[in-house]
Structure formats: structure tokens, C-alpha cells
């Protein structure tokens, strides 16, 4: 196991380098340029754009630019945003707390829905509860977040006027008042994301539990007269967790990466909205930094999931 871990960690370094090369190439080749808006303005002579391109080293060959980026990154320099003209790490750090809080809370909500509902539905397949839960789950992932977000805004902000729909990262209030405001403005985005994610996960949990619930050892446990609760929790859920762990590991990097659509609708200054505006403006250093950190997290959580498999099912061997 520890040999496996060391081996995987060693592989991680070339993997990351490889990913960074691909990312950089894709971004360099993708159409668009950061100073395009200047070109549409008749008052700005083309030389300005040329000067800016030269200044930010955009006319160098891709290989050179990549090497510059890599050496800077190794020195802890994340780059400099073309558009905002500040360091990229400042931009990311400004947005990290909001992203972690909102997206994190929604993932917790999704888990709180998916685990109990999925398990309960699977223990009583095709019961009324299962049917209702399934229907809601299917509605949940048939409707995109851009749609549910607007419906919630129309109901709770416009009609009822209960909740604000412009998210503010810098509430003026303090103490309890701050918490109250923060919760009020977070309810809708967290619900939109959490319900969508929860709907998807519920289906997976149900399916995973159904796969296990019919196995012989469960029958054995039941026939030994163990209480149902214990059977479900100890025998069924633990063995059903492998796909669930996989999915959570897949989702965790998103907690850093943010959710673009939801952030857009509620104006949450998260990393998702930073990424999308950077992409729209072709602000390569920002895109590169965000996606690279994202790639690190993907690799890290994948590794954690692989290790968890062994813990959940000790028969899984690492060779």
C-alpha cells in the first residue's frame, strides 16, 4: 500500500507536467485574443494592441511562453493578468473563500439529500417513496441550473421578496447580523446547486445500494436476525460506497473550481466566474492558473479515492 502510494505520487509529477503542456497548448491555439475589444474601438490605433501583445510576450513562440510560465510557476509566481493587470494569485485568493463556502455548502447539502434518500429508496425499491424520490431526482437533473435559478429568483426574490438575489462577498454587517445576511443570500445558490447535484447522486446511491442489497451476505446478515438498521448501515452502505466515493472524488475539485452557471445567475464572485470571464477575455495567465490548480486537485482526489477503495473493501489489492 505505501509502495503504491509512493509510486502514485511519483507518477503525479510527470502527469501534472504533461497536463500543463496540453493545457497550455490548447489555450495558445484556441481562437480569440485578450485585446480584441480594443480592435473594435476606432479611437484606439492598432499600434497600441501590438505594443500590448509585445509587452505581455504574446508574440513569442508557444514553447518559449510555456517555459516562461513553467519557470515562473516553479518560483511560485502565478502570472499576471492581462486584463486586470494584477497578480493572478491575488485574484484567486480574493475569490477562494466565497467559492469554498457556497459550493462547499451545496455539496454538503447534496450529500445530505443523496445518501439517506438513495439508501432508503433502494431498500424499498418501487415503493411509493422510491417512485416519488425517483421522479424528483429525474426532474432535478432534467432541468438545468440556469432554469431552476431563475425560477427560484422569480418566486423568492420577485414575488415574495424574501431573499436577495445579488450575492455580496463583502457584507457590511457584523456578528449575528452578518450570519443572517450571509445565510439569506446563500440559500438560493446553495439550493440550486445542491438539489441538482443531490438529484444526480441520489440515483447513483440508489443504484449502488441495489447492487449490494441482493447479495448473499446481506441475506445471511438478515437471517442471523441482526436489526435492519445495522444491516443497512454496516453491511450494505459500506459496500455500496465505492461508486459514491468515486463520484465525490470527481466532484471535490469543483469545490475549488466553482460552478460557472450558478455563479453567473447570482453574481457570486467565485472562481467559476473568474474563470469564465477570463476565458471570454482570453486572459491566458488566469485560465492557466485556475485550470492548473484544478488539475492538481483532480489528481489528488483521484489518488485519495483509490486509497479509500482499499479501505472500504480490503480485498482490493494494489499491485
Amino acid at each position: 500500500m505505501s509502495r503504491y502510494l509512493i509510486r502514485r505520487l511519483l507518477i503525479a509529477i510527470p502527469s501534472l507536467l504533461g497536463i500543463s503542456v496540453v493545457l497550455f497548448t490548447v489555450l495558445a491555439l484556441a481562437p480569440g485574443d485578450p485585446f480584441g475589444e480594443l480592435a473594435t474601438n476606432p479611437a484606439i490605433p492598432p499600434e497600441v494592441q501590438a505594443a500590448l501583445r509585445a509587452k505581455f510576450g504574446m508574440d513569442d513562440p508557444i514553447m518559449m511562453r510555456y517555459l516562461h510560465w513553467l519557470t515562473a510557476m516553479l518560483h511560485g509566481d502565478w502570472g499576471f493578468s492581462f486584463v486586470s493587470r494584477v497578480d493572478v494569485d491575488t485574484l484567486i485568493l480574493q475569490r477562494l473563500p466565497t467559492t469554498l463556502a457556497v459550493i462547499g455548502a451545496s455539496q454538503v447539502l447534496a450529500l445530505l439529500i443523496a445518501l439517506p434518500v438513495g439508501v432508503y429508496a433502494a431498500t424499498r425499491p418501487y415503493s411509493i417513496f422510491d417512485q416519488v424520490a425517483s421522479t424528483f431526482a429525474l426532474i432535478g437533473f432534467s432541468l438545468p441550473t440556469f432554469f431552476t435559478g431563475i425560477v427560484l429568483i422569480l418566486v423568492f426574490s420577485v414575488s415574495l421578496n424574501w431573499l436577495p438575489f445579488v450575492f455580496r462577498a463583502d457584507l457590511a454587517a457584523t456578528g449575528l447580523q452578518w450570519w443572517w445576511e450571509e445565510i439569506r443570500q446563500s440559500i438560493m445558490p446553495v439550493a440550486v446547486l445542491g438539489l441538482f447535484q443531490g438529484a444526480t447522486w441520489t440515483r447513483f446511491v440508489r443504484s449502488a445500494v441495489l447492487d449490494v442489497i441482493r447479495l448473499d451476505y446481506v441475506t445471511t446478515a438478515r437471517s442471523k436476525g441482526l436489526p435492519e438498521r445495522g444491516v443497512v448501515l454496516k453491511h450494505i452502505v459500506r459496500n455500496a460506497l465505492i461508486p459514491v466515493v468515486t463520484l465525490i472524488a470527481l466532484q471535490m475539485p469543483i469545490v475549488f473550481g466553482g460552478a460557472i452557471v450558478t455563479e453567473q445567475i447570482f453574481r457570486i464572485p467565485g472562481i467559476g466566474s473568474l474563470l469564465i470571464s477570463a476565458i471570454q477575455a482570453n486572459d491566458t495567465p488566469v485560465i492557466m492558473a485556475v485550470t492548473f490548480v484544478f488539475a492538481c486537485l483532480v489528481i489528488l482526489f483521484n489518488l485519495i479515492a483509490d486509497l479509500l477503495y482499499g479501505w472500504l473493501d480490503p480485498r482490493i489489492s494494489y499491485r
Binding site: 480569440g32 480584441g36 479611437a43 484606439i44 490605433p45 505594443a51 486586470s84
Partner: protein, 596 residues
């Protein structure tokens, strides 16, 4: 409309037969701008006085928080680097120019003590220089005095190509010198009819020398004040998160009495236009929202909630369809739409005129843009009695059919017209934006009826408006038959705007598609007239020339104007704010106040 007619109109204004507003509106209808219209009046000696804004509060402060919403978030706060209006608007919270443009096109002094005129000696008779007197006693936010040195520094800073300032266009050709501590002189290399460019309006905001001196030229990006501005404006800088929010607080030492009214200002960014409109008009969470690119139907419904209203400001943006003069489908020397080619059917004037008849501007205006896009106040369509024959439009499918029939374009087996093996099949591209796609559908339907088949293509805005030399989908490449977008007449002077049809501006691979003549139209008469207008000091004569240039463009169906795009903002019911379509949205921020 010739010089004589213009003089007649000016006389009407002088004798009170025509209101100044109506005059300005007419000039805008003829493709000019409000600032130019005002200049024409001033030049002809018709008294021009900006109507002062009725500012009620009797002391500074006490107004609480002002919350404004920009659905594109500002990303930087140095006016010399402002990419797009969002950054200019945000910079204007803290920085000020010498003078700004109000909605009627008047120059309003801000950091200037007065507006230079020939009478007060500010303007040289021969148009070779302008002398600005600066306001005394103005202090930067850190307490330093504002002087002529700051102005001279801004010129040095911006005109240095190494700084890569977007304002370079206003400064690179002029020479700025200090006369005394509170007087500067701007010298032009040649007689310049439009003198109010440097230090004026959106591109004229002034940054402090003592903060930026060490960061001139190549080091410009390192200045700490790039993200923490120190200006002269009504609000002091408090906090800035790029791409999210800007905070400011009342400047107790502001140079105008009893201003500003609000204690703090918050400019939030991001999201989309519809929900920004909701936040102002429907829930009242915010006081002001910028650039409401929303269908008018939706705006009207939101306004019905009574929390706020929509304000429409005339400006010089025109949504128009361009017709390619070159062949976009055959590569010549590795370049599509090469200026060495001719378009297979758009070179036939009959086809061009048919297209002109097939654009249902009235419906586009009525059902898509509503108040936010006017077909009648078009940049070539003069209102009321001034409309001349060559600047009116009509929508008439039957006439288009007849035109095509007469020109020998006969319907083929599939209903698409053809002549000598050339089919009337057009690819019509634009950027992705709901009203544009709807306009495309309306045009497509009419064209189908007339036997022209249209293939609609839409390109994501970030690609369409980029200047990527290798990508065929950008608008300067124009690798299709028709394309549609809005050109913005950001400059208060239309002369710059009319450059886009000059032969010397032809976009081609050779100039990396940076030439502005994207339709690739060439006309020697146009070039000649433009060159004359560029040095004509008689404003009225010049205006007549510019109008004639406009008429040439329209008569030859070089472009088909669809609607004008005014600047549309949403504003809370009890908020009073002077706004202008010729300057930044926040140009009069110091005067904003709320009914108690």
C-alpha cells in the same frame, strides 16, 4: 441636406423657431453627433449654454449608500488602460477629466475653470491650439494639489508607446505644454476642427503625476495605484475586487460645493442584463443598472412594478448589416475576401438594392428592440421634413422581387434565384446575442420570399470581435456575404467614424486585418471628400461634408443600417442622475442624489 440647408436650420434655432434639442436630434439623424451639433451652433454664434442640472441637496453627505450594478464587472481602475466602457465608468468614480459631454453635446467643465472658446482666448483662431485654464484649489485624494504638471504628465504618460495606453489616440499627435501652474496649452500639428479630445470625456481622465511618475512607459503595469486609485473625483477609493466590486466613500474635500450626496458607493459587477434590470426595476435591490441590452417587452414588464424606470439616451451606435464587396468564397493569395476580387452577385447594384428592400427595419424596431433601438432616428434617416430621397428606406418584398426579375435573376428549380450559374445564396453572420439572432430570422424570412436563400451563422462574441489573424470567424476577415453588428461612435466627433469607408483603411491580410474598411468598399470621391472634411475649419461646412459622405455610403448600399442603439439604463424612481450618451455613464456622478 447641404451647407445652405444647415445654415437655415441654425438660423431657425437662433430665432427660436427650432428648439436646440430638435436641432441636435436632426443632426444625429443625419449621422452626426450631439457634440458636433453643439459645436456648429457655437461656431455660428448661437448662444450655447449647458442647462445646469437641478441639484437640490444643500450639504455634502447624508445620502447613505448608492448601489449601482454593471453586468460586466470592471477589471481595472486606470483610465489609460480601460478596456471597454465598464472600466471607464468605474475609473470615473475616482478620476475626472478637464471637461465632459452632457446629453445635449455641451462641454461641461469639471477640472477646467471654463470651457475654451475663441472669445475667451482659449481657442486659437486658426485651429492650431487650445488653451485650458485649470480650476484652482483642487486637491488629489491624498491632499496634493492638482496642477498643470499633472496634465502635462498625462500627455507624456499616454503618448509614450511603451506605456501601451488605450488613450494614446487622443494624445500621440498633440503637444501639451505648461503655461503656468493652472494653465496648459495643447498644440495641434495641423489645424484641427475638433479640438475637444485630449483631456475631455471618457478618454480624458487625469491621473496624478506624483503617484504615477515612476511608472511611466514599460513599468506602467507595476504601479500600485493601478488598482488603488488616487484621483480628484467625488468618491475616495475604499476597496476593489477586480471582476466583482468597487467601493468608494465620500470625498470630504471635493472641489464642488455640497457634493457628493451619497456617503458610500458600491459598483457591483457580473451576471446578465435581464437580472440586472430586475434588481433595479423589480426588486429595488440596486439604484442603477447600466447597458440594458434586454428586449423592450421584458423591460416594459419589469417597469410595471413601479420601482424604477428605463432611461434611453441617444448615442452614436448603429446596428447595421454589411454587404461584402469582395468574394468571400475563393482564396486569392491565401486570403478570402481579398480586395483583388469582386463579389459574385453583391457587385450587382440591383441585388444590393434588393437586400436593402428586404430588411424589415420597422418590425425589427417594433418587435425586437422597441425603445432600445430606433429605426426612424437612423444614422442616415433624417426625421420629419428633413428626410431626403436618398436617405429614406422602405420594406417592400414585391419591389425587391421586381428589381431582381428586371436584373435577370430568375428563380431556379429550388426557388432560389440565379443568373449565369451564380445562385443568390448568402451566408449571413453575426455574434451570438438573442436580438441579433431574431433579426437574422426576420431578414431570412423576407429574403426567402424574394427567392434569396440565407444561411444563418452565429459566432461567439469573444471570437467574432477578436482580432485573431488566423481565425476566419472574426468580423474583420468578413469571410461571408453579409454580417451584422453594432459600430459604436464613441468619439463625439463623427470624422473618425467615417474613416471606416476609406480606401486607405481596407482590411486585408497585409495589414493583419487591422484596416477599418471591413466592407472593402472603394470610392475615390468618398476618399477625396473625407480628406477635405478632415481639414475644414468651418464647422457648418464640415458638417455638410460629413452628411454628404453618409449619403454616399447609403446610396451605394455599402451597409444597411438596421436600428440605432441608444444607451439604455435602468434607474430607481427616486434617484436623480444627469446622464449622457456621449460620455461615461458616471460622468455626472457628483450630482447624483436621491429624494429624501
Amino acid at each position: 441636406m447641404n451647407e445652405h440647408d444647415l445654415r437655415g436650420l441654425i438660423e431657425d434655432v437662433r430665432h427660436g423657431k427650432l428648439s436646440r434639442r430638435a436641432f441636435t436630434r436632426t443632426m444625429i439623424g443625419l449621422g452626426l453627433t450631439a457634440p458636433l451639433a453643439t459645436q456648429m451652433l457655437a461656431y455660428s454664434g448661437v448662444a450655447v449654454a449647458a442647462e445646469p442640472f437641478a441639484y437640490k441637496p444643500t450639504k455634502a453627505g447624508g445620502g447613505g449608500a448608492l448601489k449601482v450594478l454593471w453586468w460586466q464587472a470592471p477589471t481595472l481602475l486606470n483610465p489609460h488602460f480601460a478596456v471597454g466602457t465598464k472600466d471607464q465608468d468605474a475609473s470615473r468614480l475616482f478620476y475626472e477629466p478637464l471637461a465632459g459631454w452632457d446629453q445635449d453635446g455641451n462641454l461641461v467643465p469639471v477640472l477646467a475653470a471654463q470651457i475654451p472658446t475663441v472669445e475667451n482666448g482659449g481657442l486659437a483662431e486658426d485651429g492650431s491650439s487650445v488653451t485650458w485654464k485649470l480650476k484652482q484649489g483642487v486637491k488629489w485624494h491624498d491632499g496634493q494639489p492638482f496642477t498643470a504638471d499633472d496634465c502635462v504628465f498625462n500627455w507624456e504618460y499616454s503618448s509614450d508607446p511603451a506605456t501601451a495606453a488605450v488613450t494614446i489616440g487622443s494624445y500621440k499627435d498633440v503637444k501639451v505644454s505648461k503655461v503656468d501652474d493652472h494653465t496648459i496649452r495643447v498644440d495641434f500639428p495641423k489645424p484641427t476642427p475638433f479640438w475637444a479630445d485630449a483631456f475631455v470625456g471618457a478618454f480624458g481622465m487625469i491621473i496624478p503625476k506624483h503617484q504615477f511618475e515612476p511608472y511611466k512607459g514599460a513599468k506602467s503595469r507595476e504601479a500600485p495605484a493601478n488598482v488603488a486609485p488616487v484621483g480628484t473625483g467625488p468618491y475616495l477609493f475604499a476597496d476593489f475586487k477586480p471582476g466583482d466590486v468597487v467601493h468608494g466613500k465620500l470625498n470630504p474635500n471635493y472641489h464642488m460645493p455640497n457634493r457628493p450626496y451619497f456617503d458610500t458607493i458600491e459598483m457591483k459587477g457580473g451576471g446578465d442584463a435581464v437580472s440586472a434590470a430586475r434588481a433595479v426595476l423589480q426588486t429595488g435591490e440596486y439604484d442603477f443598472a447600466w447597458n440594458m441590452q434586454v428586449e423592450d417587452e421584458i423591460l416594459k414588464r419589469l417597469e410595471a412594478s413601479g420601482k424604477g424606470s428605463v432611461v434611453i439616451l441617444l448615442a452614436g451606435s448603429i446596428e447595421h448589416i454589411q454587404l461584402n464587396n469582395t468574394d468571400p468564397w475563393h482564396e486569392v493569395d491565401g486570403e478570402r475576401s481579398s480586395i483583388k476580387t469582386k463579389h459574385p452577385y453583391l457587385s450587382d447594384p440591383a441585388v444590393r438594392n434588393a437586400f436593402n428592400l428586404l430588411v424589415d427595419r420597422a418590425s425589427v424596431h417594433k418587435f425586437i428592440y422597441g425603445r432600445t433601438g430606433d429605426d426612424s432616428a437612423n444614422f442616415v434617416v433624417a426625421p420629419e421634413k428633413f428626410a431626403s430621397k436618398n436617405t429614406s428606406y422602405e420594406f417592400n418584398v414585391d419591389k425587391a422581387i421586381k428589381l431582381l426579375d428586371d436584373a435577370g435573376w430568375k428563380p431556379g428549380a429550388d426557388g432560389v434565384r440565379e443568373k449565369n450559374g451564380v445562385k443568390l445564396h448568402a451566408v449571413y453572420q453575426t455574434s451570438i446575442n438573442a436580438p441579433r439572432q431574431k433579426t437574422q430570422e426576420i431578414v431570412k424570412q423576407a429574403c426567402q420570399k424574394a427567392g434569396i436563400s440565407i444561411e444563418i451563422k452565429s459566432v461567439t462574441a469573444s471570437v467574432f470581435f477578436s482580432s485573431d489573424v488566423a481565425n476566419l470567424d472574426t468580423y474583420p476577415h468578413f469571410a461571408c456575404d453579409l454580417q451584422m453588428y453594432t459600430t459604436t461612435m464613441q468619439q463625439p466627433d463623427p470624422g473618425q467614424f467615417m474613416r471606416q469607408f476609406l480606401s486607405e483603411e481596407l482590411a486585408s491580410k497585409a495589414n493583419k486585418f487591422q484596416g477599418r474598411n471591413i466592407v472593402r468598399w472603394q470610392n475615390a470621391d468618398y476618399d477625396k471628400l473625407w480628406a477635405e472634411s478632415d481639414k475644414e475649419l468651418n464647422t457648418v461646412k464640415r458638417a455638410a461634408m460629413l452628411i454628404a459622405l453618409n449619403d454616399m455610403v447609403i446610396k451605394n448600399v455599402v451597409v444597411i443600417p438596421v436600428v440605432t442603439r441608444p444607451s439604455v439604463v435602468a434607474i430607481a424612481k427616486n434617484l436623480h442622475a444627469p446622464l449622457s450618451g456621449w460620455d461615461t455613464n458616471t460622468y455626472g456622478l457628483q450630482d447624483w442624489y436621491r429624494d429624501a
